[in-house]
Amino acid sequence: MKRHNGRDAALFLAPTAVTYAVFLYIPIVSCFVIAMSDYDILSPLNFIGFSNFKRLFTYDRTLSTYLTTFKLAGMVVILHTIIGLMMALIVRHFHRRFQSVLRSIYYLPSILTTASVAIAWRYIFHSDLGILNYFLRQLGLSNIPWLLDPQWVYGSIAVFSVWKFVGGAFLYYLIGLETIPESLYEAAKIDGAGSVSTFRHITLPMLTPTIFFVVLNLCIGATQMFDEPFFLTGGGPGDASRTVNLFLYEVAYKEFNFGYASAIAISLFFVLAIFTIVQVKASNKWVTYDRA
């Protein structure tokens, strides 16, 4: 009987195990193997040891793309976290029927194709021909080099990212707010707590698991940012907005240097793993799971 159970279990698990092996484990192992090779996909693998990993620390462009990624990710995570929460808090104050309308409006950009809306935003941000600077000029102000200046370009990408993707954080917060027991707010009201005090002592602590989830996901997503710089700036000006993922793609598919691209991918994996572990450890100090 036991033997039968084991066989049945293996049979049931087989499809999932095979899927994982083919689409996850084998590619991961392959990535490590390719990272130790000189490989252009048209010629056979040529093992070169750790040269690609050494290059990670010596090639200026790799290091600068990491720096760019961290700057952009930091900005995007902060903005998404705060704006998403503010939107959820505002929507929650409306009548239920109106809430569903606002939910749809706020989430709409998330379901649009990034490429098409990015083209529209490129026109909006265009320094000389864009509508944003047109209005600034009407107000007597000067053109802002939204996509041309290495400093302004971060803000422009962040604005686009918030407009396009904040709907995700907003929805998580809205769901999180729904799960906070109404009795807590009633008790606070009876005790004479004001709205700021209620938010600080009830909403925020009760929402910490959601905030943690949102921040963790945003950190992972933002560190792998690709779409926004690819479509808006092409990584420019120069390398100013070239993220690690965009650089990795170019090394792989423009230079056909799959060995080095794999080494970058592995380095990104470890950076993300370290980030995640640190965040999970730190979360013990500020995330409240007790809802009793």
Partner: protein, 427 residues
């Protein structure tokens, strides 16, 4: 020796068979065997062009019922030819190699050095009757398809870089149409005269080119180029290159006659939206200009230091990984014929056949369209080493850095890019 062989082969072929062309070939559709095969063919094109290709394929299948063709439409898109070749290489690497593909000049060295395409010399020698009037193809354009004596295909379409001028804006500025040998000072005067601001909206006199091919059109006229003549080293530190970049930069920031380019900017829509008065390109923007009722004409790129037109051509090479190289050669030769050019290239791009150019150019706008043909005689092919995608990316990174910064250290940026490109070429 190889060159001699090719020359002899073509001379013989021209005498014995080329002129007879496809009619003769059509009587022997099973010339290389006769089994039914389906070729995988990679082609760039729009929806409208796909309809033209359907028409051609129907004709081809009537002549060669045993050769089917599956067209894999692969738009060149925003990443340019570099991105297009990347897609073809990926197909080859994945074991899904096309049998043949449309490839532009930017990829010829890549095909040759990577041994990705089959030299067609033997096929042509064995079956010259399959090639439709070889001597009708412009010699200079066809020569680009022969590398180290290896013939990889027949020049099918080509493009150069000329100046597109909005005639309404020209008239509004009371300027005559520029002469063929207009120079830097005249160009600047024209750009300044056509730059106006009305109701907070600025109309720019020009838009500096922002794609590698068009920039090359300017570089050649400054006597500069990204690489040396042998394409063995970068040449970004020459005074001519510095002068060209400085002039472009000045057009944006000193004279204010051109918007600062952002990667991906579409000069065609800027022209059709009447935001700029002059842009630079070949014949490919013409359909969009006509559809937008733009009153325009073309003139040479100004002779900044010299007058050297850039060109890029395309052909249909047979891939080394093809399982049906003979049939692919038949289709490549057929598609390079006059009929194909008349159907596909009447309004889009420039045909390479002298007879087709003479037929379609005068029948279509702009008025000065014959310039598309005459410029071929003195044109110089766009530089494209085997590492073209990387070299292009490195140069464009430097170009965009310069053009986005009002205070750019032009010589410093060019010098750094020069080192980058030399490093790429040395791999």
């Amino acid at each position: 020796m190889k060159r001699l062989f090719i020359a002899t082969a073509f001379a013989a072929a021209a005498v014995f068979g080329f002129a007879n062309g496809q009619d003769e070939a059509s009587t022997d559709s099973g010339v290389f065997g006769g089994d039914d095969v389906t070729l995988r063919f990679v082609m760039d094109g729009t929806v409208e062009q796909q309809a033209w290709m359907d028409e051609l394929l129907a004709d081809f299948n009537a002549e060669y019922p045993n050769i089917g063709v599956e067209v894999i439409w692969t738009p060149v898109g925003a990443e340019g030819w570099g991105g297009y070749f990347t897609k073809i290489k990926t197909m080859i690497a994945s074991g899904q190699s096309p049998d043949l593909a449309m490839v532009a000049s930017e990829g010829f060295q890549l095909l040759h050095e990577g041994k990705l395409a089959v030299p067609l010399n033997d096929y042509v020698e064995a079956h010259p009757e399959l090639v439709d009037e070889y001597e009708d193809i412009h010699t200079k354009l066809q020569n680009a398809c022969i590398i180290d004596g290896n013939l990889y295909g027949f020049a099918w379409n080509w493009n150069n870089v000329v100046t597109h001028i909005n005639l309404d804006m020209l008239e509004a500025a009371n300027l005559p149409f520029p002469s063929a040998n207009w120079n830097k000072e005249e160009f600047l005067r024209y750009a300044q005269a056509m730059t106006i601001e009305k109701d907070g909206k600025k109309q720019y006199g020009t838009f500096i080119p922002n794609y590698n091919f068009m920039i090359t059109g300017w570089l050649y006229n400054f006597g500069a180029s990204v690489l040396n003549d042998e394409m063995s080293a970068a040449a970004l530190e020459t005074p001519e290159m510095q002068e060209c970049m400085q002039f472009m930069h000045d057009l944006i920031y000193k004279y204010g006659v051109s918007p600062a380019p952002i990667p991906g900017d579409n000069f065609i829509s800027m022209m059709t939206n009447r935001q700029v008065a002059m842009t630079f390109g070949g014949r490919w923007p013409v359909p969009a200009f006509v559809n937008a009722d733009l009153n325009f004409d073309i003139q040479y790129v100004p002779s900044f230091n010299t007058n050297q037109v850039v060109y890029g051509t395309s052909m249909f090479p047979v891939m080394t990984a093809s399982k049906h190289p003979e049939e692919a050669f038949i289709f490549s030769a057929w598609l390079s014929g006059r009929r194909s050019q008349e159907v596909y290239l009447s309004s889009f791009s420039i045909p390479t056949r002298l007879s087709v150019m003479d037929k379609v150019l005068p029948a279509n706008p702009p008025e000065n369209a014959q310039l598309f043909k005459t410029s071929a005689d003195s044109a110089r092919v766009v530089q494209a080493p085997a590492q073209f995608p990387e070299v292009e990316a490195a140069f464009m990174r430097a170009f965009n850095t310069i053009m986005s910064d009002p205070n750019a250290d032009i010589s410093g940026i060019l010098s750094a890019s020069n080192s980058d490109i030399n490093e790429i070429l040395s791999r």
